[in-house]
């Protein structure tokens, strides 16, 4: 793949032509916030916080999916983008019952971190307080729909890395929920291999290891990395 040159936030950089804007930015220490994106699984462009402005296009582009191009001029943090990101994070906080103070992921939560990054100090929108269930029928893990942001990382990691496709999404719009197998309790989902990848992939406290209490659910992304690459690197042996 040929190298191409582009500017991101005024900085001239070179990148392999098959890279996305997000990958090129990260390699050059330019921080673009993300939420649904997770290295190692496919990108879906659903959270819309990684949107960037590309000169010559009147549409905002999801940096996780948009490939770099020769001469491309990208702006990652204009006032407009900052405001949009803040609004999107506020919409997420208003959508479900994100009560950080009693959340297993408090202090280890990507949504919480993102709120700080975008400078969210309060939520301007009406809280929806939906009625959400907690499912702890699985012997090791639990799912708390109050904390779910529907990023579908669990769905993708289960399908693409573990190959089980235990997770999927049911319903639509604000009624959407992540489900296991045919919308049944996780403990009865026979396709689940209990590998725990979904728990490690989850950005919030929605998926957790049972027995963890407030602020104890640290996500071990190195474990996820190991699970993804161990076979290629022959780390399972010895």
């Amino acid at each position: 793949m040929n190298s191409i040159t582009l500017t991101i936030d005024g900085k001239l950089i070179s990148a392999p032509g098959d890279q996305t804007i997000l990958e090129a930015a990260r390699e050059n220490d330019i921080h673009i916030p993300t939420l649904c994106n997770l290295e190692g699984i496919s990108a879906v462009g659903a959270c819309r916080v990684c949107l960037v402005e590309v000169s010559g296009s009147n549409r905002l582009a999801p940096s996780c999916l948009t490939k770099v191009a020769e001469g491309m001029q990208v702006q990652t943090a204009t006032d407009r983008l900052r405001e949009y990101r803040k609004m999107i994070v506020e919409l997420l906080f208003a959508e479900r019952n994100h009560i950080c103070s009693v959340c297993v992921a408090n202090g280890n939560c990507e949504l919480q971190d993102l709120a700080v990054t975008v400078g969210m100090d309060h939520v301007r929108y009406e809280y929806q307080y939906p009625s959400c269930s907690v499912d702890v029928t699985h012997k090791e893990f639990g799912v708390d729909h109050n904390r779910c942001i529907l990023c579908t990382r669990c769905v993708r990691v289960c399908d693409e890395v573990e190959g089980a496709h235990t997770w999927d999404v049911s319903g639509r719009g604000m009624q959407s929920r992540v489900i296991t197998d045919l919308n049944q309790p996780w403990g009865t989902a026979t396709s689940c291999t209990s590998c725990g990848k979904c728990v490690q992939a989850c950005p919030t406290g929605a998926l957790f290891r049972q027995g963890s209490t407030v602020a104890e659910m640290k996500k071990d992304r190195e474990l996820l990395d190991f699970l993804m690459t161990a076979r290629e690197k022959k780390q399972w042996i010895g």
């Binding site: 659903a46 971190d113 009406e126 529907l150 604000m174």
Partner: protein
């Protein structure tokens, strides 16, 4: 089969027709007002009167003036009757023997009929949609035969490009250009999809076309398949249209039997198979990438474009997706030529457009009009104006469109003009609103629709439409302040610019267009602003981010 044989079949069919034909509408609108009983009563009355040897009663598709259904028309003199009751059948048949009828006579010279230009609907209401022979009698499948015998795929694409036909699904992408993009792809497997997932509230054009003239759409698909090099097609039709599905199934069976679809069509090397896929009630599946997902058996959610389906669509193969009405325009363009088609309409919008006229207007139903006609002519002359008062606004484009105020009714109907007014051409829904309509309620209605129909994949559409709906509900209930309207506008801007697919990107349009033209109606519902709270520098600290 050669053209001469096809023409012979058509002539034979015409020769077998009886001199007097009573056509009775059996499309969904008239069926729901008992037209099946009317058709039976007419058939019985013909037999009783002893006229069966020279009079036939035939079930046909939509005759357009839906508000007067069930509709009956008598050929050859063209007398039309509306709101026909089965009890009136005998007297209608009696008119053929010089009698009088108490049935309601419809003036077929009124502007509603007179100003229509029929291309898409030319067979609608004239032929029996459940008989392929009827379609053959009006020249059906001759365009396909001509294309297979006389034209190269490139010539077909070039003809479509010259005709100036643009996508009738709403966005108005040039059809010939789209076909050309796919024809140039080297892939061996390509697909044609007919998008019949018509979901806009108030729109029923595609349903009527499928119920009234299904073969026209199938012929358009086959010509498209030949042009782009596809051998498999799908009609993606919503499950809420059982009659359209039923008639499509009949049409497909008859077309296969006759050899106009399937393998070696008209003894040429061209193969084309069409299957029906039925939608399960999600509006978003009308969006092309979600539609593809649905056909693949996946959850119907859009994915970001590019890659466009023209490059990577159904099962990653180049895929042509055209709307029902677009495909219904194909055969006449081939038969009568690109120049003929391009002579109708405006500089940038060619041909005709079918609108489903509904709402507070005297004549509701289908109108097919040349592009460039003014909205005023459609709603005031053809539609007969509003029965209850004066027209306040016209809504086009459904939940993705906007409300055009009465002051802009002299705007010509074409893609660019409607977009400039903050609405869109859309698929053809046209809802007329009178003085009694509250525009904030209209915006709230469409926002509720978008909120319910959001697939839930991207955050701005899923969560933003909910917040916009709540703000609109507060405004309607008189609980909102000017700050709420400002927040509503900010959300409109966010959802429009950051949503993943067209559903979210256009969801704010009804709000934005009503704010643009009817802001005083919003203001009239607002509470006075509360006194400003005392300034405070105290903010609750958030947990500190790690790392």
């Amino acid at each position: 089969m050669e053209l001469a044989e096809l023409k012979e079949l058509a002539d034979k069919e015409k020769a077998e027709q009886k001199p007097i034909r009573i056509r009775c509408c059996t499309a969904a609108g008239c069926l729901s007002s008992n037209s099946q009983a009317v058709q039976q009563a007419l058939t019985d009355a013909v037999t009783t009167a002893g006229l069966a040897d020279r009079v036939e009663v035939l079930p046909v598709g939509c005759m357009r003036l839906c508000c007067e259904g069930p509709l009956v028309q008598v050929d050859p003199d063209g007398a039309m009757y509306g709101k026909v009751d089965p009890g009136q059948a005998a007297s209608i048949v009696g008119t053929l023997q010089g009698g009088q009828t108490e049935a309601r006579v419809i003036d077929t010279n009124m502007p509603f009929f007179r100003d229509q230009v029929s291309i898409v609907l030319e067979n609608s209401g004239r032929i029996n949609p459940e008989r392929i022979e009827d379609y053959l009698s009006v020249g059906g499948y001759q365009a396909l035969l001509h294309v297979l015998r006389e034209m190269t795929p490139n010539q077909v694409v070039e003809t479509m490009t010259r005709s100036g036909l643009r996508g009738r699904g709403g966005a108005g992408y040039p059809t010939g250009v789209k076909w050309g993009l796919i024809a140039k792809q080297p892939a061996t497997q390509k697909f044609v999809i007919c998008n019949a997932d018509e979901g806009d509230p108030g729109a029923f054009m595609d349903r009527s076309v499928l119920e009234s003239d299904p073969h026209r759409v199938l012929e358009g698909m086959a010509i498209a398949a030949y042009a782009i090099g596809a051998s498999q097609g799908f009609v993606y039709v919503r499950g809420e249209y059982p009659l359209a599905i039923h008639r499509l199934e009949i049409a497909l069976r008859q077309a296969r039997k006759m050899g106009v679809l399937g393998t070696q069509i008209f003894e040429s090397p061209f193969n084309f198979r069409i299957d029906i896929r039925i939608g399960a009630g999600a509006f978003v599946c009308g969006e092309e990438t979600a539609l593809i997902g649905s056909i693949e058996g996946k959850r119907g959610t859009p994915r970001p474009r590019p890659p466009y389906p023209t490059e990577s669509g159904l099962w990653q193969a180049p895929t042509l997706i055209n709307n029902v009405e677009t495909l219904a325009n194909v055969a006449p363009i081939i038969t009568r030529g690109a120049e003929w088609y391009a002579s109708i309409g405006t500089a940038k919008s060619k041909g005709t457009k079918v609108f489903a006229l509904a709402g507070k207007v005297r004549n509701t139903g289908l109108v097919e009009v040349p592009m460039g006609i003014t909205l005023r002519k459609i709603v005031e002359e053809m539609g007969g104006g509003s029965p209850g008062g004066s027209i306040k606004a016209v809504q086009t484009g459904g939940p993705s469109g906007g409300c055009i105020p009465a002051s802009a009714l002299d705007t010509p109907v074409d893609y660019e003009s409607l977009t400039a007014l903050g609405s869109i051409m859309g698929s053809g829904g046209m809802i007329v609103m009178d003085d009694a309509t509250k525009m904030v309620d209209v915006a709230k209605f469409f926002m509720e629709f978008c909120m319910d129909e959001s697939c839930g994949k991207c955050v701005p559409c899923r969560a933003g439409t909910v917040q916009m709906y709540r703000l609109l509900a507060r405004i309607v209930e008189g609980e909102a302040t000017a700050a709420d309207v400002a927040q509503l506008e900010a959300l409109c801007d966010l959802v429009r610019n950051t949503s993943l697919c067209g559903l979210g990107q256009s969801a704010p349009n009804p709000v934005l267009s009503t704010l643009r033209y009817f802001r005083e109606e919003y203001n009239a519902l607002l509470q006075p602003a509360p006194p400003a709270p005392p300034p405070s520098n105290q903010r609750i600290p958030l947990p500190v981010a790690r790392g």
